[in-house]
Amino acid sequence: MNGYLEQTMRKTLTPLLALLIAAPALRADEGMWTFDNLPVAKMKQKYGFAPDQAWLDHVRLSAVRFPGGSGSFVSADGLVLTNHHVGHNWIERVSDSTHDYVGNGFVAATREQEIKVPGLELNTLISMENVTEALAKAAPEGAGEAAAAKARQEALAGLLKAARERTGLQCEPVVLYQGGETWIYAYKVHKDVRLVLAPEYGIAAFGKEWDNFSWPRFCLDFSLFRVYEDGKPYKPQHHLAWAPKGPAYGDMTFIVGHPGRTSRLETLAQMEATRDVFGPLGVRTLDRTRKVLHAYATRGAEPARQVSAMLMGVENGYKVTVNELVGLRDRESMAEVARAETELRAAVDKDPALKALAGSSWDKVAAATARRARFAKEDAILGSLRSRMLEFALGLARLEAETALPADKRASEYRTEADITRRKARLKGMVPGDAVLEQAFLESGFNASLQDLGPSHPLTAALLGGKAPAEAASLLLSGTRLKDAAFRASLLDDPKALKDSRDPMLVLARSLAALQAPMRAEREEIQAVIAEHGARIAQARFKVRGRSVYPDATFTLRLSYGAVETYPSAGTLAPPFTTFAGLYDRADAWGPEAEDHSWELPKRWVDARGSLDLRTHFNFISSNDIIGGNSGSPVIDRQGRLIGLVFDGNIESNAGRFFFDPKVNRSLSVDASGILAAIDKVYGASRLVLEITSK
């Protein structure tokens, strides 16, 4: 669960509904629960314990949200613990060609040495307000689908504005149960965040992309940051105490973090479309991208460094998508999804009011999904054109096209002056990639279009202009002036220059934009149907089941519970823990060279071999229900203390996007005692040990 995969966050109501799995009886320990609705009775029954309000407030206010991931305060002086892979981009950002903190690690010996990370913002969830009823009243009786949606949107904007003014916090809408509930979550934003300690990439991601999502593991996937305020270490209201020992086999575990996205409430038709159409296309696209990146990385150390984070993200996404499909192809699980859906539909059909509301919604969602699948290939090709210059040109062409329209005819994100300014600022920040990489990406995308759509498809024709992919790409790149920053700026600032420009990249972008426009319109139409009927199914489901179930993940704070627990794997039972002894086992087993140094120990770890207690627990598994976005979440014991750090799920957990299988779905965490031993014995950062362990 690395890098960008933490979650491909979609803030709005993208995915949809449906019915999950054995809804009346959720499976053991299933669920990513919102803090207002925990299955207290179930927890008590199984574990003889459930958190009280003070416990919940304490862990909520100790938790922080990272871009794409999670973290927590672990000292009174604002020290923040997260994964290395959540911090990876930021560690890379404060590195340069002479200071490779990703490769070599970083230890700030003093507070003065802590490095400010530009652009990194962390959030703490301060309050949550349910606005569902207020929004329901906003839609006039008998309004059409579109009118109702618009009315609700406007009401929500008003509520958000009021909340912002009232609290002075960053307020975000949170749509739960596919529209069944809407909340406003208010966050305190921390903008001065500094890097304190990062282990070497080689030990954080020991086993590299091979071992990603697998178990047993040996990863020191943590990093430490510190929040500052007014130039001084920030004193958070709450922080997690570090437990003196990690968990024992069978101990209860809580995970507090930000699961990014699940699709467990989608309808069967949606899951089948993912299984049969969208998923396989996604695998193809990611496979093409990873091949381009691997080829580029083999050119040398510097190219490899440039794309390491991107490559990790793409490899991760590839593995996720492949194994999600494995889950969707599991006949037994899909039969269970179908059974639950049939049950809910039967319950809906029995009640005239519910039937009128949602009786036909499944069929409408299915029809919309089928329509959406018809241009899935084109979407995949456009998504595979990863050239930064083309992305820039597409942004520009879109801006040109939208601003040519009167404001009320534009897409929603181009309506106001502020929208336009934001778009331009984003384009300004885009820097073209290395020429070799640009060429490779364009060529790969062009080839994909040729193979998947054929030479006569309008998209292929626009991309290639009748030429061979390699030639078309190199002509574009040699002809374009978009490499030149001044030229890019002039196009952004001067509408006339933009209008007159016949730069070949821009010309291509304009024709692509023209092809995309009708698809975009249709997609929006389809999305509206899916959103509306998804919400209706959710409402019907609410009526039938109440809040005995949890909502799909939304990259907002959730709590999941479970225990350190084995599972059947590869013919045996998986060990619940690994130890430092196992780290050396795996390193020795492969040797430093194998699979491009994937299991090579950093020098500090080779040197520390004699001084470490090899019995120290290193990583462990637990039955908590988590998903991408939970990376960096603290693992907490009954006393509310930190016992571990979530960094991954096992390969079986990928099916968790669609359903939770308690037999085999496991979270992977770094043991708190392993982290502490490493900070102390390997990184010699006793000041941090003292800070973390002081009461």
Partner: protein, 688 residues
């Protein structure tokens, strides 16, 4: 990994291009060109003779000579029954391990025989001449058996060695293999079963592994250590990832040449039924073991064996349930059949053979189910009694008409088995016999003639209790007297087990004969015809199914994709401690707990010593205990298992994921020297 049930004929897997490293090759027919092309090396005849003469066959497994003084290396699990046999109350060598500090302390194992393959002779042509053209299937089969019996006896008489018929390519070739037999075998060293079977049943058939699954025996002759003609030198240098390895051993049975009809019968009937039966037996053994620690000691090894078989069968079944693999095998069968149909001569001979086998499978289904119950009902004494009842009756028949264990070639071994003195526990005997009778009652129903005959209106517990209490057959001297007394003595015996055996004899024999006539002979005949046709088409580019005779497999130490990653090619002693610490001493019945001497001596050990490794060699149950050789023909490791993916290897070989799992020779030396205080054995083995 143990060999089980015999498999039958046919049609393999992408013949023209076998998968990389695929094959359990006979020593007369190695894919030399292929080996050379891929590895730049292939063994020469001297290498092969040395490896063959250093190899040994154990009952159900393999082994090798590793010193000039007849020291033998095999797996702990191959030797386990024998280690148990020399244990006794208060002296549990399985649990506590054993090291003979001197040769005088080496313990003689009753009944254990090891075999060295001395010569191999191809008798296919002579057998073919003995079968007249146009004979019906059954008569042809009898003619063949008779001729084979004659040849076998001739060779046995000529050489004084043990001669065995080896049927290769489902009857495409017949060979006589002759063996030197070693009957004085003594236990030298065995680690604790916890080390040998570290990870318990859970880890069995899996990898990465941390098993110290070895044991040392010594062959004696005339009361002195035997000096074998050849033995394996211990490798001077250990293996690295990618290094080529060879395995010489005795793969028990595969079923890769079976027809689809046979595989489907196994998938839908045979395996599910056997799994059910074994699960019930396991339940009975576990219940017995719970009575006390001593009860558990009595059945410990048997439970492990049953669990081992269960996991294997479930793996075979999973292989057959893989729709992609089955579709591929089906396609290959259709291709072969099309080739056969395209040639008028082949078509005339074998075109109808697939259908004939399919019909036999339909007959087999009800027969096999009945035969599963109409037998000795898990009673050892009833087994002895049945042998005693049958011996005189069978001896009166010509050898070709006898049941297989009473033919001229086999009857000697049968008599010997009867007289072996093994530990006997009447309470266990009663419990298992009761269980067996209950199973028959539940499976066949109270109205079935066999059930009526055995129970005579009483309960299974009553019948078993009375028979076990009243029988004297547990005493080898009593058995010997009955054996020597012949028909008269047996007829006069009022031993309750003999009386039961008389009731059992006819129904069991009739079922076996029907199975032989209506199923096995059809499968043998038509399997042979298909194999013959296959021979005509592909020649000996392919290897025969496993027959528990000496074979050679080869391939490199290598990783494989599993569990979302690439699996490490080696494990180390570091990993042993990691696994023990991960689970702690209590979890899962202590499956991953270490004997205390391993903790006490941990700091002496070089923890980076390679411990177990995975390699792409095509092996199967029966290969357990096989030596792993390097290019120089030196011993580098010891096969003890396959990964879970290897179980499907019974039906097809998948080179991507099928791996043999071995103990690294370096770990064996490290353990002998630093944990077991057996420096004298290290010295004998390494010559240093």
């Amino acid at each position: 990994m143990k060999p089980s049930v015999l498999g039958l004929a046919l049609s393999l897997v992408a013949m023209p291009g076998l998968r990389a490293e695929e094959g359990m090759w006979t020593f007369d027919n190695l894919p030399i060109a292929k080996m050379k092309e891929k590895y730049g090396f292939a063994p020469d005849p001297a290498w092969l003779d040395h490896a063959r003469l250093s190899s040994l066959r154990f009952p159900g497994g393999s082994g090798s000579f590793i010193s000039a003084d007849g020291l033998v290396l095999t797996n702990h699990h191959v030797g386990r029954d024998h280690i148990q046999a020399v244990s006794g109350q208060g002296r549990d060598l399985v649990r506590n391990g054993f090291v003979a500090a001197t040769r005088e302390e080496e313990i003689k194992v009753p009944g254990l025989e090891l075999l060295t393959l001395v010569a191999m002779e191809d008798v296919t042509a002579r057998v073919a001449r003995a079968v007249a053209k146009g004979l019906p299937d059954k008569a042809a089969q009898e003619a063949r058996q008779a001729e084979l019996g004659r040849i076998q006896k001739e060779i046995q008489d000529r050489t004084g060695l043990r001669a065995e018929v080896v049927r290769l390519y489902q009857g495409g070739e017949y060979w006589i293999y002759t063996y030197k037999k070693h009957t004085d075998v003594r236990l030298v060293m065995a680690p604790e079963v916890r080390m040998a079977k570290f990870g318990g049943d859970a880890d069995n058939f899996t990898y990465p592994r941390f098993g110290l699954d070895f044991a040392l025996f010594r062959v004696y002759e005339d009361g002195r250590p035997y000096h074998p003609k050849a033995h394996l030198a211990w490798a001077a240098e250990g293996l690295k990832a990618g290094d080529l390895t060879f395995v010489t051993g005795h793969p028990g049975s595969t079923a890769r040449l079976e027809t689809q009809a046979q595989m489907l019968a196994s998938r839908d009937v045979a395996w599910p039924e056997r799994i059910r039966t074994l699960e019930a037996l396991r339940g009975a053994l576990v219940a017995y073991g719970k009575r006390s620690p001593e009860h558990f000691r009595q059945v410990g090894a048997q439970i492990l064996n049953v669990e081992n078989s269960l996991k294997a069968m479930k793996g075979y079944l999973a292989g057959l349930q893989d729709p992609a693999a089955m579709a591929r095998l089906g396609r290959e069968e259709r291709e072969l059949k099309a080739k056969v149909d395209a040639d008028p001569a082949l078509k005339a001979r074998a075109g109808g053979s697939w259908a004939a086998i399919a019909r036999a499978m339909a007959v087999q289904k009800p027969l096999a189910r009945e035969l599963a119950f109409v037998g000795t009902c898990n009673s050892t004494l009833l087994g002895h009694a049945l042998t005693l009842v049958r011996l005189p009756e069978q001896a009166a028949l010509p050898t070709a008409k006898r049941l297989s264990e009473f033919t001229d070639a086999n009857v000697e071994a049968t008599r010997r088995r009867l007289l072996v003195d093994r530990p006997y526990y009447p309470e266990l005997e009663t419990a298992l016999f009761t269980h067996g009778l209950q199973e028959a009652l539940a499976g066949l129903g109270a109205g079935h003639p066999f059930v009526k005959a055995m129970l005579g209106g009483k309960t299974p517990a009553a019948v078993a209790g009375l028979a076990v209490a009243g029988s004297r057959l547990a005493d080898p001297a009593v058995r010997k007297a009955l054996l020597e007394g012949g028909r008269q003595a047996v007829l006069a015996s009022q031993d309750p087990m003999i009386l039961l055996a008389r009731r059992l004899e006819a129904p069991n024999r009739l079922l076996r004969q029907r199975m032989e006539d209506q199923v096995n002979s059809v499968v043998a005949e038509h399997g042979g015809r298909i194999a013959g046709a296959r021979f005509r088409i592909f020649g000996k580019e392919v290897y025969p199914d496993a027959t528990f005779t000496l074979r050679l497999s080869y391939g490199p130490v290598s990783s494989y994709p599993a569990n979302g990653t690439h699996i490490q090619p080696f494990t180390t002693l570091h990993g042993l401690f990691d696994r023990a610490l991960a689970w702690g001493p209590e979890a899962e019945g202590g499956a991953w707990s270490l004997p205390s001497r391993w903790w006490e001596r941990k700091d002496r050990l070089a923890l980076d010593t390679p411990y177990n490794f995975a390699h792409s060699v095509d092996i199967i149950g029966g290969n357990s205990g096989s030596p792993v050789l390097n290019r120089k023909g030196e011993l580098a490791g010891l096969i003890f298992d396959g990964n879970i993916e290897s179980l499907a290897g019974r039906y097809y070989y998948d080179g991507k994921v099928n791996r043999g799992v071995s103990v690294d020779g370096r770990a064996i030396l490290e353990a002998l020297g630093k944990v077991y205080d057996a420096q004298h054995l290290v010295k004998e083995i390494t010559g240093k």
